[in-house]
């Protein structure tokens, strides 16, 4: 393993401290542990808390600030945060208008957030949650844990955060989050694995001439493995799955081409070039496009395509002011 780290056991702590030192105008760390909150607390709003394993930077701590998240609880690399820390986050950001938990659909995340919510409810804090599950690569049925939450979460959090910033009630904020979740779909592919520092070796092996299609953001196996192909070919495969899952015809969409960490912008733009053409040919109008590192998987080489179906309300919220380390508009 060759990484710019010090002791493996210090990876998360040093990363979080470094992040706070880089963005003191946005972030503050609670003394109790690895819980980051907005540097300048805003009163009288529904507070949003996100979280999940570390290793997805800038997801999700990079989205703390005006217009998106009020707190984020990063766990160990690729491991859900624990309820005691989530609870501290909830307590710290509650303004009395309630807290909405933005939970990624993983068994561990769901249970840890749920326990934190129970602890907070015992203290009289109003807490509700939404579960983000945008990955179309995983079958959503009663026979599985359901779709995973992946890069689409960034757009869901952005839109929900804008609603919360406007002073809306917990019920209204939750309704917008659910609307965004219902309209967002993502699928990704990878060509090289990533190494969790504590594990010391790559999470999976893949040949020089192979591609894993439908990969998860922790390097979990995808839908299938194929021979390496061109950018246009893999883009066609991913788009076909996404467009087959939800009817986007005649609608306006936001597009997010997300790098898994090692795939450079150059390749993301090549992918987006074809995405835009395919969408145009299918009478789908691109309202806004984002290309870059939004939700990474350490140094994995890969990318995902996210499409979010928009209406007037979602467009307005997507455009609303946001000032955070990783997303400003």
């Amino acid at each position: 393993m060759k990484k710019f780290i010090n002791a493996v056991s210090d990876v998360e702590n040093e990363m979080i401290q470094g992040m706070v030192k880089a963005y003191p105008q946005y972030l503050r760390k609670l003394d109790c542990g690895n819980v980051l909150v907005r540097a300048e607390r805003k009163e009288n709003k529904v507070a949003l808390i996100g979280g999940g394993g570390s290793g997805h930077e800038p997801g999700h701590c990079g989205y703390i600030g005006e217009g998106i998240l009020d707190a984020c609880v990063p766990g160990a690399v690729f491991t859900s945060p624990t309820p005691d820390m989530i609870y501290e986050g909830i307590k710290s950001i509650d303004t009395g208008k309630g807290v909405l938990m933005m939970v990624m659909n993983y068994t561990g995340d769901v249970m840890n957030f749920e326990m934190a919510a129970e602890m907070a409810a015992d203290e009289g804090i109003q807490v509700d949650q939404v579960i983000i599950n945008d990955d179309v690569a995983v079958k959503d049925s009663t026979w599985t844990t359901g779709r995973r939450g992946v890069a689409g979460a960034v757009l869901v959090n952005k839109i929900t955060g804008a609603k919360a910033e406007s002073g809306a009630s917990l019920e209204e904020v939750k309704a917008v989050a659910e609307k965004a979740i219902a309209n967002v779909r993502t699928m990704g592919a990878a060509i090289s694995p990533c190494t969790i520092p504590a594990a010391g070796r790559p999470g999976f092996e893949i040949g020089e001439d192979e591609i894993e299609i439908g990969i998860g953001v922790h390097g979990e196996p995808g839908t299938y493995r194929d021979k390496m192909m061109t950018a246009d070919q893999i883009t066609d495969i991913l788009l076909e799955r996404i467009l087959g899952d939800l009817d986007f015809t005649g609608r306006e969409v936001a597009v997010l081409i997300n790098s898994a960490g090692a795939t450079p912008l150059m390749e993301l733009f090549i992918i987006n070039n074809h995405v835009a053409d395919v969408l145009a040919s299918k009478n789908i109008k691109v309202y806004k496009t984002f290309c870059g590192e939004y939700m990474t998987s350490l140094e994995m080489a890969g990318f995902s395509i996210t499409l979010l179906r928009l209406d007037d309300e979602l467009k307005e919220l997507l455009d609303a002011k946001a000032v955070t380390p990783a997303f400003t508009c």
């Binding site: 766990g75 491991t79 859900s80 993983y106 561990g108 249970m111 844990t145 922790h218």
Partner: protein
Amino acid sequence: MNTEGLISIIKNIAEKIDMEKDFLGELDSFIGDGDHGINMARGFNEVKKKLPEFSSLEPAELLKSVGMTLVATVGGASGPLYGTAFMKAGAALKGKENFDINDFVSALELAIEGVMKRGRSTQGEKTMLDSMIPSLTALKTSLANGDDSITALREAVAAAEDGVYYTKTIAATKGRASYLGVRSIGYQDPGATSYKMIIESVYETLKQ
């Protein structure tokens, strides 16, 4: 059985989990993300470290504190599940300085109920419940037949072991292994295995 006895059981559980952490990790690497052993050992080692502080607590409070420690240190899905199990087991012993095998049955019943609720799961989904539920059933049957508590616990261990083997024959429908679908068949569930180690530690401690 009082707090002192309970502490020696928990100490033995912690030592067994630590000893078996590589094995649990290996099982998890086949159908999960490979961290079940490391996570469980981290949690139970923390519990073991705190046991001296817990020695003045009544059994119910002791189990609750063990559960809270696990929740805060294990992480992933196992943390909330085992944490809930210990906290619920504690609730069954509330107000008791001493408890017997029937209280243990109630504690296990509540623990299982808690795990089912927390994990929104039931028997046959390739989870820890597949060794927990059969072990409770065997324990109750044995006691109803008039067996002594040691014999009944031995039956519970055997049933948990059968449960672990059963998980090899089924596909996971809960947790990370469910992404593999039928590809998870043939592998034993790490959670069912770690529970078997726990009930085995209870039996071994009481036998002595």
